[in-house]
């Protein structure tokens, strides 16, 4: 698809127009934007209040029903980590694949990544029993001479997520510098000062570009294995456990595919309205969505396969508890969650075989909503219904989420959207310099290609 993109879809505007259009998005906020931002902050406050209550009384307010010791919080944690994967995939991996169609969308997705990981990062803290000593998970020297247990997948998480957050943030910032410089040279007054500072004295001189391009390449090269590793590590939180329904070698690839799938889902959900709001239709075009759609179809189909494989292995293993767990996923007390996951992920994604749908923005938006719901439920099913019916039948218990669960979930969306909206208003949401890189500069001897 990279090739195809080369041939057909070179942006039509000139460099000057690109700068103008993008800088225009940083203008005065519309009423709609302000309302959305207010809504996001409101949601965040809901989550904040819930968290304070949890801090005060303990986790009991949430719906936890042993043996279901993890539920909505970890579900949402994995959900956000997953969202965080599309960004780096598009910005790093596709960069290495030299597929230019990414340029229009990668800035937005990368921002999404950073904020999604920021959101996810809250959950390990929210969900533990004694939130005030969460830092005990970090290897810091203390008078007790105690160190954390590096054999625990949770510690892998700590490292994987903090690394991922750092690297993707760095990646985003590095990408932003030349664009901020461009903005600096367009605006005036106090804004010029601020953007000037943020531009770190970028002038676009040849030496700067010379190192910049290499550095960016290596960052991309480092980020690529990271993307794959992070969700593998997250999947090992489960795969390393004995719990039937968790204990599977398929988990790493299965989760990575799921992560990208959900990530792109969220990209659709964010970009489609954004593109309208900021009038970027001529930069973020149908063919971008078309390609994203193909990626969704691919990952969605991998999920479909993974689901079938899980059931097959459960049956083929002949292990009683595996079989019971998977039977109950479909026909047990949590059947509704199980089927939501399968329909939204495995079936809905198959609609993307049709180009008509891939290029129909409205359809894509609807599908993306299904994807978000479906992927949240996938994690919910894997965690809750597996834990609820594991080894000891006598101890089985079924979870019913409570207001505290939903409060935190809503809050996390608020927290995420708040940052994303602020970013979209403050920084170029489309990568100016990369678009320009694609548009050949005018020549005084037209036709004579270099």
């Amino acid at each position: 698809m990279a090739v195809m993109a080369h041939e057909t879809h070179v942006p039509t505007q000139t460099h000057a127009e690109v700068t103008r259009d993008v800088v225009a998005t940083l203008g005065k906020p519309s009423r709609g934007y302000v309302l959305m931002l207010a809504g996001a902050i409101g949601m965040f406050v809901v989550g904040l209040i819930t968290f304070v209550i949890l801090l005060k009384d303990g986790l009991g307010h949430a719906g936890y029903t042993p043996p279901v010791m993890w539920s909505v919080y970890i579900t949402t944690f994995v959900f956000w980590i997953g969202i965080g994967h599309a960004g780096t995939l598009i910005s790093a991996i596709l960069y290495l694949f030299r597929s230019p169609w990414r340029t229009a969308v990668y800035r937005a997705t990368e921002a999404m990544t950073v904020f999604a990981v920021m959101t996810a990062g809250l959950f390990p803290i929210i969900h533990i029993g004694r939130q005030w000593i969460f830092y005990w998970l970090l290897p810091y020297p203390n008078q007790r001479y105690l160190w954390p247990n590096f054999k625990s997948p949770l510690l892998w998480d700590v490292f994987a997520i903090s690394t991922y957050l750092t690297v993707s943030t760095v990646f985003l910032i590095v990408g932003l510098v030349p664009d901020v410089a461009a903005v600096r040279d367009k605006v005036s007054g106090w804004r010029k000062k601020i953007y000037g500072m943020l531009a770190l004295g970028w002038t676009g001189s040849d030496t700067q570009w010379r190192h910049y391009t290499r550095a960016y390449l290596y960052l991309a090269a480092l980020a690529t294995p990271l993307v794959l590793s992070v969700h593998s590590v997250v999947s090992w939180d489960f795969a390393v456990g004995l719990v039937p329904g968790w204990h599977g070698t398929i988990f790493a690839p299965y989760f990575v595919a799921g992560a990208i799938y959900s990530g792109i889902g969220m990209v659709f959900t964010l970009l489609i309205p954004l593109r309208k709001a900021f009038k970027l239709e001529h930069m973020i075009q149908e063919h971008h969505f078309d390609n994203l759609g193909k990626l969704t179809l691919l990952t969605g189909s991998i999920l479909f396969y993974a689901y079938m494989m899980e059931y097959f292995i459960a049956w083929y293993s002949g292990v009683s508890w595996e079989q019971t767990t998977f039977y109950l996923r479909a026909f047990g007390p949590m059947w509704w969650a199980g089927w939501t996951m399968i329909i939204c992920n495995a079936f809905v994604s198959q609609l993307l075989w049709f180009k008509k749908i891939r290029t129909n923005v409205t359809a894509l938006f609807v599908i993306s909503i299904f994807i978000n719901i479906g992927m949240w439920f996938e994690r919910f099913v894997i965690i809750v219904s597996s834990l609820g019916n594991d080894f000891v039948p006598y101890a089985w218990g079924q979870l019913t989420p409570s207001w505290a669960d939903w409060g935190i979930l809503v809050g996390s969306f608020g927290w995420f959207l708040m940052y994303f909206l602020l970013f979209a208003r403050t920084f170029p949401i489309v990568a100016i310099q990369e678009i320009k890189e694609m548009i050949p500069m005018p020549r005084k001897r037209p036709g004579v290609l270099h």
Binding site: G58, T65, M69, W70, G129, R130, N149, D237, V392, G397
Partner: protein, 1013 residues
């Protein structure tokens, strides 16, 4: 003794001393988060050091349990002059070191928040107000003087010096004493009178029985002396070297006792007597060797053919014959009847029939000992008489002691109405129960652990009670109250009671005891007795028992049931709450009913078919209506029930008796008619005497049960094997294949096995480092399912030892109960019609795995492996990720979702906390520790004595409590330790062996009499 330990006896628990306790003991004594750093700022010394109390060391006093009439011996463990744990007295002949759940919970009676803090008197406006002891006693003396011979006393106190005093005191006044126990086994006595001419209830020796036949006597739960029965039953029915007694149960409802039976036959309620007589008939007609005078019965028995009985009971005639023959051929055998659950109007006949059965089989004098009768009261008849006397206004003064008739007799008796017509009503209840609430004067008695007394549970046994600590509240021993009144009277009938205090009175009485035993030094005799817990001698030889004249005049007619409903209503005694006196003790409320696994409330039990027929499912609230009243409660579907029966436990539905008890569940007695005329005048309460109509309410109430799924799904959690295979020395796995056919086969190839072994070795090697180098004990446990009866004594013992919080009904509904040790109850069979249903118990606790899955996943090493093979849990390191809980295959890790430590121990309940065990804060994970505090304690003692630990130095609370000795604990590294030897039994297996987590707990498969394959 403990009472002298402080100068301040300003009455009531001495707070300052308690402070000093906390200050010195530091430990979990006060209810504060386990990891809290706030500490007691003051150190308050004793004024005078008590030589019996060394801070930090436990002092044990011998005493006697008063939670039921059985009279088990106690060892009360005290720390810094606070009782912190009740244990069985190993020297005591009745319970020989074991103690049931109710016994353990006696501690919560002592520290019950509902206890009265001072005497109360009813004022003009009808309210009860606190009053000083002086005024209260003055008032009592005055009332006694006024009422004189019009005085009536209702006492639930067992036979002993206090009861003697009370009787003498009442008699001196010319009044009358009614010794009343709700479960008084009147039918049994009546039957003995009728058949043998002996007016007493014998003691039963299950230990010698080779065949046990039960017609609805829950002898492992509430019937007579449960712990003693447990000991015997485990000896007889616990599988050992190829032998065990067979146990057949014929009752409409499979009680916990029935669950331990090899055969359970759900027979029609009321048909038991017919079946028993039919069996007697079979034996008498087929077998010789019956006592000669039994021949007189032939004529009468001939009328009771197995066929007729089978007809009535809904049970095959062949089964009756077979059981009868087995029963007769096993010598000695034992048949029991007369449990509260099957106490219908024909109960007396039933007991009589069973007496004949035993007599004909020659068991009387073998397993039935009339030489050691168990204590009984005057029977319900006496109370009925008193009630009508009160109704007629002939009673001037009533003193109610240790009994609660306003709750324990059916409402239809209208005891309350009659009671209120008494001139002046006095109660000595230490908790404001239903009866006390009606009284004019309440003189709260000391708890059994705060006062002096002795009990005579049977001839030869004199069991002492002594105060183990300062009274918690401003209460007064009723014995002293009686003597005070006598002293106040100066002249008059009561003047004969001159003892300065009840303690003095008791010592005086014991001088007599000493002299009777030819002791030259009564003082020394007394001290020894106190240390031992009393004097324990063999009961006198059993009298020769023969049939009474009218023994043949027994007619087993099916008993009448009131009402025209289509279900027979069975009110059975709750194994936890007994007659209702347990209902104010959270330990008992949260300890699930062994049968239904329901906590905190009572449900209506229905057979699955009945439920289907009525189109109700678990949790739907059903209304039962009998001619005498109606109750509403959620349905619980229970396969161990006769389809024609609806059952619910007694002991719930209190209208008073403290916050824990009030308004919890329903009072089954509301459906019973026991007023004279309406089936009354029997001399006992017929608990199964009504038919009820059912009515759906369409309302639901989730049942707070601790069970998720009652089926094992073939996961081999609770293994059992037929005795035939056990005798062939098969392992559970081999037994399985022997039954289903096929061969046990190894799935791994040779090379794979080598690889596994090599890996394990390398792993072991790499894992030994630092502290882990060298020889350490490796603690382990063996649990014999052939002995475990599911009684749940271990559960309460664990709660008591380890400061486990009770979380309450709402949290149980979320499955958040904290029971480190739980008894899982699984059903086998009973799914298709006609297939017999079987129940299995398996105590589930932390298995302390060698390859514990919970350990490596903890990010902070809070869950880790100790050098002595424990699966450690450092509460203060735990951050509460709960990953360990998820990864534990046995689901034995419990999380503090809320600050239970602050919620579950309302003052003064927190005084029960064990200072040696950290009280866990919210947000941390906790679990069974194999009572590590006891291990460390033993190690400390051994170190001070410069010796190594010996086998038996450490006994966890559960093993110590177990009345069936099903639990063995010790060092697995020592091949000669009891646990190692027990673990080598061929019945041994690990739950979920396939996971290769190498548990330290080995289970021994249950053994059953059943056809193989």
């Amino acid at each position: 003794m403990a009472t002298n330990s402080s100068e301040q006896s300003n009455g009531g628990m001495n707070r300052r001393k308690f402070l000093s306790v906390v200050g010195v003991a530091g430990g979990g004594a006060a209810v504060l988060p386990g990891c809290s750093t706030d500490r007691v700022q003051k150190l308050v010394p004793y004024l005078i050091q008590d030589e019996n109390q060394v801070p930090g060391l436990a002092t044990t006093y011998a005493s006697t349990c008063t939670e039921c009439p059985a009279g088990c011996g106690l060892h009360v463990k005290t720390r810094e002059a606070r009782a912190i744990k009740l244990e069985g007295n190993p020297d005591h002949p009745i319970n020989t070191g074991a103690l049931c759940a109710r016994g353990h919970a006696g501690l919560q009676g002592l520290y019950n928040p509902g206890r009265l803090k001072s005497p109360m008197v009813r004022n003009a406006d009808g309210s009860l107000d606190p009053v000083s002891w002086d005024d209260a006693l003055a008032r009592l003396s005055q009332e006694v003087a006024r009422a004189g011979s019009g005085t009536r006393v209702i006492s639930g106190a067992g036979p002993g010096t206090f009861s003697d005093l009370l009787a003498a005191w009442t008699q001196a006044l010319g009044g009358r004493l009614v010794r009343y126990q709700p479960f008084d086994h009147e039918p049994l006595r009546a039957a003995n009178r009728r058949v043998f001419g002996i007016d007493s209830v014998p003691s039963y020796d299950f230990g010698r029985a080779k065949y046990i036949l039960e017609f609805g006597a829950d002898f492992l739960e509430t019937w007579l002396s449960p712990v003693e029965h447990h000991r015997g039953f485990a000896r007889a029915h616990g599988y050992h070297d190829g032998e065990m007694a067979k146990f057949v149960s014929l009752t409409p409802r499979m009680s916990m006792t029935g669950m331990n039976a090899d055969e359970w036959h759900p027979i029609t309620p009321g048909s038991e007597a017919a079946v028993a007589l039919a069996m007697a008939n079979v034996i008498l007609s087929e077998r010789s060797g019956a006592p000669s005078d039994a021949n007189a019965l032939r004529g009468m028995l001939a009328r009771h053919t197995p066929e007729a009985a089978a007809q009535e009971a809904g049970l095959g005639a062949e089964a009756i014959r077979r059981v009868a023959r087995e029963f007769a051929s096993a010598k000695p055998s034992l048949a029991v009847a007369g449990g509260i659950g099957s106490q219908h109007r024909g109960a007396e006949m039933l007991c009589a029939a069973v007496n004949l059965l035993n007599y004909i089989a020659g068991n009387v004098g073998q397993t039935i000992d009339f030489g050691a009768p168990v204590p009984t009261g005057d029977g319900y008849g006496a109370l009925e008489a008193l009630t009508s006397a009160m109704r007629d206004g002939h009673v001037g003064l009533v003193i109610v002691h240790e009994s609660n008739p306003a709750y324990t007799v059916p409402a239809t008796v209208q005891f309350e109405a009659a009671f209120t017509r008494v001139g002046f009503k006095v109660s000595t209840a230490s908790v404001l129960d239903e009866t006390a609430a009606l009284c004019d004067l309440i003189l709260p008695n000391h708890h059994g652990l705060e006062r002096w007394d002795d009990l005579r549970p049977r001839p030869g046994v004199r069991s002492l009670m002594q105060p183990v600590m300062e009274p918690v509240f401003d209460t007064r021993a009723t014995g002293d109250v009686l003597l005070d009144v006598a002293r106040a009277a100066e002249s008059g009938p009561l003047a004969q009671f001159t003892a300065a205090s009840f303690e003095a009175h008791l010592k005086q009485a014991w001088v007599g005891v000493a002299q009777a035993r030819g002791s030259t030094d009564p003082e020394q005799f007394w001290v020894d007795a106190l240390a031992r817990g009393g004097v324990f001698e063999d009961s006198p030889a059993a009298p020769v028992v023969s049939l009474a004249a009218d023994a043949a005049q027994i007619v087993a007619t099916a008993p009448a049931f009131d009402g025209d409903g289509d279900l027979v209503f069975m009110a059975y005694p709750s194994p936890m709450l007994f007659d209702g006196r347990g209902a104010n003790k959270p330990w008992l409320l949260e300890n699930p009913d062994p049968v239904t696994k329901v906590t905190w409330r009572s449900c209506l039990e229905l057979h699955p078919d009945t439920a289907k027929a009525l189109d109700v499912r678990e949790g739907e609230i059903l209304r039962l209506t009998s001619p005498h009243g109606s109750i509403e409660a959620p349905v619980y579907v229970y396969p161990g029930l006769h389809p024609g029966v609806v059952a619910t436990p007694l002991g719930f539905g209190h209208t008073a008796y403290g916050d824990y008890a009030q308004g919890r569940g329903v009072n089954a007695l509301d459906l019973l008619g026991a007023a004279p005329g309406a089936g009354g005048g029997l001399g006992f309460v017929a608990y199964a005497s009504t038919r009820v109509r059912t009515e759906r309410t369409g309302r639901y109430q989730q049942v707070p049960k601790t069970e998720g799924n009652p089926r094992q799904l073939g996961r081999g959690i609770a293994e059992a094997m037929p005795i035939g295979l056990a005798q062939r020395g098969l392992t559970p796995k081999e037994a399985h294949y022997a039954e289903v056919g096929g061969e046990p086969h190894e799935v791994n190839t040779e090379r794979e096995l080598e690889a596994l072994a090599g890996f394990a070795e390398a792993q072991e090697h790499a894992a030994t480092k630092g502290d882990y180098v060298g020889e350490h004990p490796q603690w382990g446990m063996v649990i014999d399912l052939a002995r475990c009866t599911g009684c749940s004594a271990c559960v309460t013992a664990c709660y008591a030892e380890n400061n486990i919080p009770t979380v309450g009904e709402q949290e149980v509904l979320r499955g958040r109960e904290m029971s480190w040790m739980r008894i899982e109850r699984y059903f086998e069979g009973g799914e298709d019609p006609g297939e017999p249903v079987e129940a299995r118990f398996v105590p589930m606790l932390c298995q302390h795995c060698g390859n514990a899955p919970c350990e490596p996943v903890c990010p902070v090493y809070a869950a880790y492996h100790t050098t002595d093979g424990l699966n450690g849990q450092a509460y203060n390191r735990c951050v509460g990720t709960r990953y360990c809980g998820n990864n534990c295959p046995y689901k034995v890790r419990y999380f503090n979702w809320f600050p239970y430590n602050e919620r579950s121990f309302p003052d003064p309940l927190h005084l029960q906390l064990n200072p040696d065990v950290t009280v866990r804060a919210r947000g941390v994970m906790e679990k069974c520790t194999f009572c590590v505090q006891r291990i460390r304690g033993a190690q400390n003692r051994a170190a001070l004595e410069d010796r190594d630990l010996m086998d038996g130095d450490v006994t966890p609370a559960c093993a110590q409590a177990c009345p069936a000795d099903a639990i063995v604990f010790g060092d697995r590294m020592d091949p000669e330790s009891r646990v190692s030897r027990a673990g080598r039994d061929h019945r041994g297996y690990h739950v979920f062996d396939a996971l290769h987590v190498r548990p330290a707990v080995t289970y021994l498969a249950k053994v059953r009499y059943q056809e193989e394959g």
